[in-house]
């Protein structure tokens, strides 16, 4: 089902004494999610992404703006009438019910024409269990399962009623690193298989980029950018997005453009068509190439060997940061190097307006 958010705003009124100010959790959020799409809602904690999710499923009512499922305006509809599936961060499996009872629970709520016969219910439970591959765990209680298994049960429970939209709130944050990798592939597979329109919320950019069709980056309640993961990574809308995506983090410098040339400190990096003036400059760690003839001269603080790659920690007069990084092929920089010159890949370097943080086209 297609999903449209229109100028969605949620303001939490301030409490009298403790927090006298109103909190604008989501601000004028507009977004269209196509049928069958998997969208990652991404941002640092407190950016309003969970609130946005609650607005979509109906657990919170928006202060203003509309939510459409297909052509229907569901803004004033309670969550019980929206037909959404929601997977909670800590799964919220009912501890006193077995896995089978947990998955069956949403189906038993169906009334009237939607009501299913016993056989249909069992069939749907089996089907959901098969999709997430937990058929052999159906008689267990949640407490007797691992985090990854609970996660699958939670997804099965959300899927069993064939929801219009599947919402996942930080679905991987309670899993250990290895399981997280495995489970995110699993989510992608399940989503592809069922074709259900899905939105998942995460603060982990790697997670969002790896499985989403599109990602939506949020900050302080405002959507910063929305697009395919690679496109957002390659063409960040502003400094915040550039800094939020990518590990290691993008290196930022104070730079200036003078006469069609970009300077950082005294180093002239490359030619540009941007207008003259002061800019914030971002260079991705993989955008620096070891080149003894390069024009970018850096002081090396540490050379961290990672095997395939080497991470060079450096400083530069053009940046206040102590921990600038370059990711270069393993062995290309000797571990006792004190200084190193680099050349830069033009498509890995971004200019940002100093005031607004908006990206300015390099050429």
């Amino acid at each position: 089902m297609k999903l449209v958010l229109e100028q969605l705003t949620k303001i939490f009124p301030g409490r009298e004494k403790k927090n006298p100010k109103d909190v604008r959790a989501v601000s004028e959020m507009s977004l269209t999610i196509e049928d069958g799409e998997l969208v990652g809602l991404l941002g640092p904690s407190g950016c309003g992404k969970s609130t946005a999710l609650n607005l979509i499923c109906g657990l919170e009512a928006p202060t203003s703006g509309r939510v459409y499922f297909g052509e229907e305006d569901v803004t004033d509809l309670g969550p019980e009438h929206r037909g959404v599936g929601l997977v909670f961060q800590n799964y919220a499996l009912y501890p006193h019910m077995t896995v089978r009872q947990n998955i069956r629970f949403p189906l038993e709520n169906l009334k009237g024409a939607q009501k299913l016969t016993k056989e249909e219910v069992e069939e749907r439970v089996q089907e959901a269990a098969r999709i997430v591959q937990i058929e052999e765990l159906l008689e267990r209680k949640p407490a007797e399962m691992s985090g990854g298994q609970q996660q699958r049960v939670a997804i099965a429970r959300a899927l069993v009623k064939k929801p219009n939209v599947l919402l996942l709130d930080e679905p991987l944050s309670n899993l250990d690193a290895r399981l997280r990798l495995q489970t995110r592939e699993e989510i992608k597979r399940i989503q592809r298989k069922t074709g259900v329109t899905s939105i998942f919320v995460t603060h982990d950019q790697e997670e969002a980029m790896s499985i989403s069709d599109r990602i939506v980056v949020m900050k302080a309640g405002v959507v910063q950018q929305c697009g395919r993961p690679q496109e957002v990574y390659d063409r960040p809308a502003n400094l915040f997005v550039a800094q939020f995506l990518g590990t290691p983090r993008i290196n930022t410098f104070e730079g200036r453009v003078k006469g069609g040339k970009l300077f950082i400190g005294e180093d002239e990096l490359l030619k540009t068509s941007a207008p003259d003036g002061e800019y914030s400059v971002g260079i991705r760690p993989e955008g620096l190439l070891v080149d003894d003839a390069g024009s970018f001269h850096c002081g090396v603080t540490a050379v961290e060997v990672m095997g395939r790659d080497t991470s060079v920690v450096f400083t530069h007069a053009g940046s206040g940061e102590e921990q600038l990084r370059a990711i270069v092929p393993g062995g290309s920089v000797a571990s006792d190097k004190k200084e190193q010159a680099f050349s830069v890949k033009p498509d890995k370097i971004f200019l940002f307006d100093k005031e607004s943080g908006e990206r300015v086209e390099l050429s």
Binding site: V74, G78, H81
Partner: protein, 288 residues
């Protein structure tokens, strides 16, 4: 196609109705709880003659009077009951605190031969109802010639197995490292108990104290058994005495004045320690 608009409307209406019903129900029970208190105060300020001339009880006092309160203190030894109860409550609570704190400390922090079995025995004793032992205690106190004395009233109620258990559990939550650190610094056990453990367990202690005070203030059965001299009566026995013999049976307003007087201290205590008390009870599940 579902009619979303009507679903929304129906939902809102249902929610409004259930909120109204909820408040109605709660208010009804609230009135049921408060009404006896209201009636008690109301009756206590009606004059004897106006109360008795009311064939249909009146919900307000036309000419309120404090005469009944004066009567309550002069016609029956209410002040005496009051002082007795105060002495009984204070001494019992204080003694109990000393006894249970020492015992709980021994169980929680000291290692001595036989600790395990003794504690198990203690837990077993928790199941023994008071009604079972009251008979022998009555005989014991009578044999010791302690009837109509404070000692006779107080002694059987200075220990509480349950409170020892509760306090021990609480003491054990204080990290053992603190005790070891104190020992290294040369702090004596008693000083550690006084300076570290008791302050850290204050919420539990406060709960125990308030509950014990309530228990003492309201105790009826035991005092009734061991006192027959009205000068040693506690308030509960006093009330019963007033009901059966005092004021002449019909002076209900004076009786109510006495009831107000003995109810006020606990209500005030409760209002002061409301939050602590309610938290303490819900945390430990003490029935009181």
């Amino acid at each position: 196609m579902k009619d979303y608009g009507s679903i929304v409307k129906q939902d809102k209406a249902e929610r409004r109705v259930s909120t109204v019903l909820r408040y109605l129900g709660l208010t009804f029970w609230g009135l049921l709880v408060l009404f006896p208190f209201y009636w008690m105060v109301l009756t206590s300020i009606k004059s004897y003659s106006s109360y008795n001339s009311e064939v249909v009880p009146s919900f307000i006092a036309k000419d309120p009077t404090l005469q009944n309160y004066a009567d309550a203190f002069t016609a029956v030894p209410l002040a005496g009951y009051f002082v007795n109860t105060l002495i009984f409550t204070l001494i019992t609570t204080a003694l109990m605190l000393v006894v249970i704190v020492l015992a709980a400390f021994a169980f929680a922090r000291l290692d001595f031969p036989g600790r395990g079995p003794v504690f198990a025995l203690l837990l077993a004793l928790m199941m023994i109802p008071n009604e079972l032992v009251v008979i022998t205690n009555y005989v014991t106190i009578t044999d010791l010639d302690l009837r109509n004395t404070f000692a006779g009233l107080i002694l059987p109620s200075v220990t509480s197995v349950f409170y020892i258990y509760l306090l021990k559990e609480n003491f054990e939550q204080i990290p053992e490292e603190l005790y070891k650190a104190a020992k290294v610094d040369g702090t004596s056990d008693l000083r550690y108990l006084w300076k570290v453990m008791l302050p850290m367990c204050r919420p539990t202690l406060v709960t125990i104290i308030i509950l014990k005070v309530i228990e003492c203030w309201n105790s009826y059965v035991w005092p009734r058994l061991v006192t027959d001299d009205p000068s040693r009566f506690l308030v509960s026995n006093g009330i019963q005495e007033i009901r059966e013999n005092g004021f002449g049976r019909e002076n209900i307003p004076a009786m109510m004045a006495a009831v107000v007087v003995i109810s006020v201290p606990l209500v005030v205590l409760f209002l002061i320690f409301r939050k602590k008390l309610m938290q303490g009870i819900s945390r430990s599940g003490i029935k009181g």
